[in-house]
């Protein structure tokens, strides 16, 4: 039972029973959440391996593994998993890689659950037995080509420079380049696959309509036979705090100047992670937000803007991105942002302004539990960062507990701390 206390003070409940266990045979974690509202079920696998775990000389390996695994395991290549799932009526089917992890997911009709489990088990068990040098090289080439295309998109060079300045070289968040992956042998890729995608380094979430009496047996049928394998080597990482201000100018073939400001902030679920998200909402979410009013409406310095707290495992990133009007100097925009932050660092927001931001965040949080696929992903996210999946109540409470003074103190910290500023200089 998940309980939420909304900012308006009314407690509401949502019944999502969550059960977890671990397969003794290989250490695979399983999260089960039964919901028979619709005859559908989500299967969502998180591998607790991302760029954060990549050995420095193997940068980009997670995305290469993702590409290879999308093609299926030894027994599920023809047709590939995506085509099989679509033919079976699957929706919301995909895979993503973030800085901290990799996932594969699908929502299928309840009677197709075993197909989805079989595909995921095959992917986890036997990719290495069908690796060839040609396949590896083909996927590596595709990655490089894709990155070349992405590199030509606006703001990509600026974003890379931004992360490069926030995190020192050698830090896993320093570079976003997926085309950095070197040529690897079958044995090298196989070895990384066996470690990074070992069952003991993965969590399988099944959310939706399944047979509660037999689900553990069904999971065991497909996953028990996967041998236990050691996980990735632990990699000690030090995130160096930003002591000073770093300024960069990047030329891009755009018509308008962009300004990007960033700070290193506490990791996911650490104290002030939620404060940062509330501050981002209060500053830049919608036409009534402070920065929108100051920069878009009143002074017409900016065309559009956004702010976000990107919550991560090692250190989060709080950023503000502004697209300026033509002819407006970025320094002018920067000064206007600084004035807003300084004002907040002196005077806390009103209770009503804070309540509004809380309601906006809580509405989004609750809406994220509507789809079984998103719910499964959320359980996996909580489990990855907190060690347990049943954390909606705790998640919502960290927002409702925040007081105006917390936001003032956080804004003060932003004013005081080192930061990175990237000006995108238009060349058109």
């Amino acid at each position: 039972m998940l309980s939420l206390l909304l900012s308006c003070g009314i407690a509401v409940t949502a019944e999502f029973p969550v059960e977890t266990y671990t397969l003794e045979s290989n250490g695979l974690e399983v999260i089960l959440s039964y919901d028979a509202t619709l005859p559908i079920v989500a299967v969502n696998v998180w591998y607790h391996a991302g760029p954060v775990n990549e050995p420095p000389q193997r940068a980009g390996i997670t995305r290469l593994l993702q590409r290879l695994m999308l093609g299926g395991g030894a027994h599920s290549t023809d047709p590939p998993p995506l085509a099989r799932l679509r033919a079976a009526g699957a929706t919301d089917t995909n895979s993503t890689v973030s800085l901290d992890r990799m996932n594969f997911f699908a929502t299928v009709p309840a009677h197709q659950l075993e197909l989805a489990l079989w595909l995921e088990a095959d992917r986890m068990r036997s990719l290495d037995s069908r690796l060839t040098q040609e396949r590896i090289e083909l996927e590596r080439w595709r990655m490089i080509e894709e990155q070349r295309k992405i590199s030509r998109q606006p703001q990509v060079a600026s974003e890379r420079a931004f992360y490069g300045a926030l995190f020192k070289p050698g830090h896993p968040y320093h570079g976003l380049r997926a085309d950095a992956v070197k040529r690897l042998t079958v044995e090298q890729v196989g070895s990384l696959y066996r470690r990074h995608c070992s069952p003991a380094n993965a969590t399988l979430a099944i959310v939706g309509h399944f047979d509660r009496q037999t689900i553990r047996e069904t999971v065991a049928r497909y996953f028990d036979a996967i041998p236990r394998r050691p996980g990735p080597e632990p990699r000690p990482i030090i995130t160096t705090p930003l002591r000073e201000e770093t300024r960069l100018e990047i030329e891009e073939p755009t018509r308008r100047a962009y300004l990007r400001l960033g700070w290193l902030t506490p990791p996911f679920f650490a104290r002030d992670d939620a404060t940062a998200e509330l501050l981002a909402t209060l500053l830049a979410d919608g036409p009534t937000s402070r920065l929108h009013r100051a920069l878009v409406e009143e002074t017409e310095l900016a065309v559009s803007l956004s702010a976000q707290q990107q919550s991560l495992q090692l250190a989060s990133v709080f950023s503000i991105l502004v697209r300026g009007h033509r002819g407006i100097a970025p320094e002018e925009i920067e000064s206007a942002i600084d004035r807003q932050l300084e004002s907040l660092s002196r005077t806390p927001p009103s209770e009503s302004e804070l309540a509004r931001a809380k309601t906006q965040i809580l509405t989004r949080l609750i809406a994220g539990f509507e789809r079984v696929g998103e719910r499964a992903d959320r359980f996996n996210r909580y489990n990855h960062y907190l060690g347990f999946p049943d954390a909606l109540a705790r998640d919502s409470k960290r927002y409702t507990d925040i007081r105006p003074e917390d936001l003032r103190a956080f804004a003060e910290r932003l004013v005081r701390d080192g930061r990175v500023i990237v000006y995108t200089v238009p060349t058109r």
Binding site: P39, G89, A110, H111, E114, W118, Q360
Partner: protein, 453 residues
């Protein structure tokens, strides 16, 4: 499937004879075999699509409510149908959707934005050629305040001269209508800027309570929803429109739009067909889906590799739907492609589609059907369609069984009854100097040439 992994071995029995004995497979062997091939599919579970409770308020506004109390969230839509083949009205709808954010007659845009933000929800205005809609998603506590904002904006929008000009300057409306509108649309003043008066006229004609429906889905009881709807909308009354009908001159059946120097041509052929409430409509929907196909279809086989883009659309609206086949091809291929598209439609009457094609289309839809109902917003959208298309409340509950029952012969019979090759309208957009003569040589009747703006 366990017998597949059974192992037959020879044993010598006590009587000295030799006979094969089936030995139970070892768990490891059984499992290895199981894991090397996909599992058998189980039986599909029953699914009952949500239905709504309805009430018509005193002023004629329809209220539809579908309760779902699993999460504290309510999604809603306020809908007004638009006449799809009245190009001017559809463009007015698009502009009106932009202007709602400009505030209401008695409340400025900033105050409206403040009130929406205080609700914590999202309020969006959208329009296409079948509807104008206001959609939102909020926590139940915020629903009364949000409905009050919606009512204020919809009842008395600020369609001021300044706001109308600003909205058009910010990003010009499409000066020419979509391919579908060109094929079926009446009204010719499409490239003109809209005036505030024309928007006010649109408001009086289209945004009337008796033409609209409010759909609420989620954590709200029907009685509460009814009370909230009455509070927000009961006083909304609009005087009858006074002869403000738009141009409804039917367009010529075959039109050639000149696009000087274009290397490609866009082609559309189609016709008005029966309304969604007609018993044959579903067969025509499937027919369009089979013709469109996934990957290779009969249409793509017919058109070969020359078509850069192929599409089949069946756009439903309450009074009548439109059926359209379109293609983008290299300019020189255009006349032959018009003939091929025409032949493709004629073939639907002559030959039944294959059972394999029909099964694939039905199967993909029926299997994925329950997943369409996952979010309150999606359910509100689907229930809104029932209102827009004049379909019964039980429509979605009956749909999978009705689809299952349809055969290739039903599709052919529906095509024969409702697709008329003689009545097909045709539009080609391309360089007239290259394609006019060969098009006329097809013998499909007289073509009227019009200039692109």
């Amino acid at each position: 499937m366990r017998c597949a992994s059974s192992v037959f071995i020879l044993v010598t029995c006590a009587f000295g004879c030799t006979r094969p004995v089936a030995q139970a497979p070892t768990p490891a062997a059984e499992n290895a075999s199981q894991l090397s091939r996909p599992p058998a599919t189980g039986a599909r579970l029953p699914f009952e699509a949500p239905v709504a409770q309805h009430r018509v308020l005193e002023n004629g506004l329809t209220l539809s409510v579908s309760e779902n109390h699993l999460l504290p969230l309510v999604a809603g839509r306020l809908l007004f149908p638009l006449p799809a083949d009245d190009v001017v009205t559809v463009r007015q709808g698009a502009l009106a959707a932009r202007l709602f954010a400009e505030g209401a007659a008695h409340t400025d845009a900033r105050a409206i934005a403040d009130r929406i933000a205080a609700c914590g929800g999202q309020l969006q205005f959208e329009s296409d050629d079948s509807k104008l809609a206001v959609q939102f998603s909020v926590l139940p506590d915020s629903l009364p305040a949000l409905l009050a904002v919606v009512a204020e904006v919809v009842r008395a929008p600020a369609f001021s001269t300044d706001a109308v000009a600003r909205a058009q300057d910010a990003s010009p409306l499409e000066t020419w209508p979509t391919l579908r509108a060109r094929l079926f649309g009446s009204g010719h003043a499409t490239q003109a800027r809209m005036s505030a008066e024309s928007l006010q006229s649109f408001h009086r004609r289209i945004m009337r309570p008796e033409r609209g429906a409010l759909v609420l889905v989620g954590d709200v009881a029907f009685a509460t929803a009814l009370s909230l709807a009455r509070d927000a909308f009961d006083e909304w009354a609009v005087p009858a429109p006074s002869g403000e009908a738009t141009d409804s001159t039917p367009p010529p059946a075959r039109r050639l739009f000149n696009a000087d120097g274009a290397q490609y041509a866009q082609i559309a052929i189609g016709q008005h067909i029966i309304a969604p409430s007609h018993p044959d409509h579903l067969a025509l929907v499937l027919l369009a889906a089979v013709l469109r196909g996934e990957g290779e279809s009969s249409l793509s086989r017919r058109m070969g590799s020359e078509a850069l883009e192929l599409g089949v659309t069946l756009a439903p609206s309450r009074e009548r739907s439109t059926f359209m086949v379109r293609a983008t091809v290299p300019l020189a291929q255009a006349p032959r492609s018009v003939a091929e598209l025409q032949a493709a439609v004629e073939a639907l009457r002559r030959e039944a589609v294959s059972a394999r094609e029909l099964t694939a289309v039905k199967g993909a839809f029926i299997e994925a059907f329950p997943a369409y109902f996952q979010t309150r917003e999606a359910v509100a959208r689907l229930l809104g369609r029932l209102f827009l298309q004049g379909l019964p409340a039980e429509h979605y509950r009956q749909l999978p069984d009705r689809l299952e029952a349809i055969t290739p012969r039903d599709l052919q019979a529906a095509a024969r009854r409702h697709l008329d090759p003689e009545a097909l309208e045709r539009v080609v957009i391309g360089d007239v100097s290259v394609i006019e003569e060969p098009l006329r040589a097809l013998g499909l009747g007289e073509w009227v040439v019009q200039e692109e703006p």
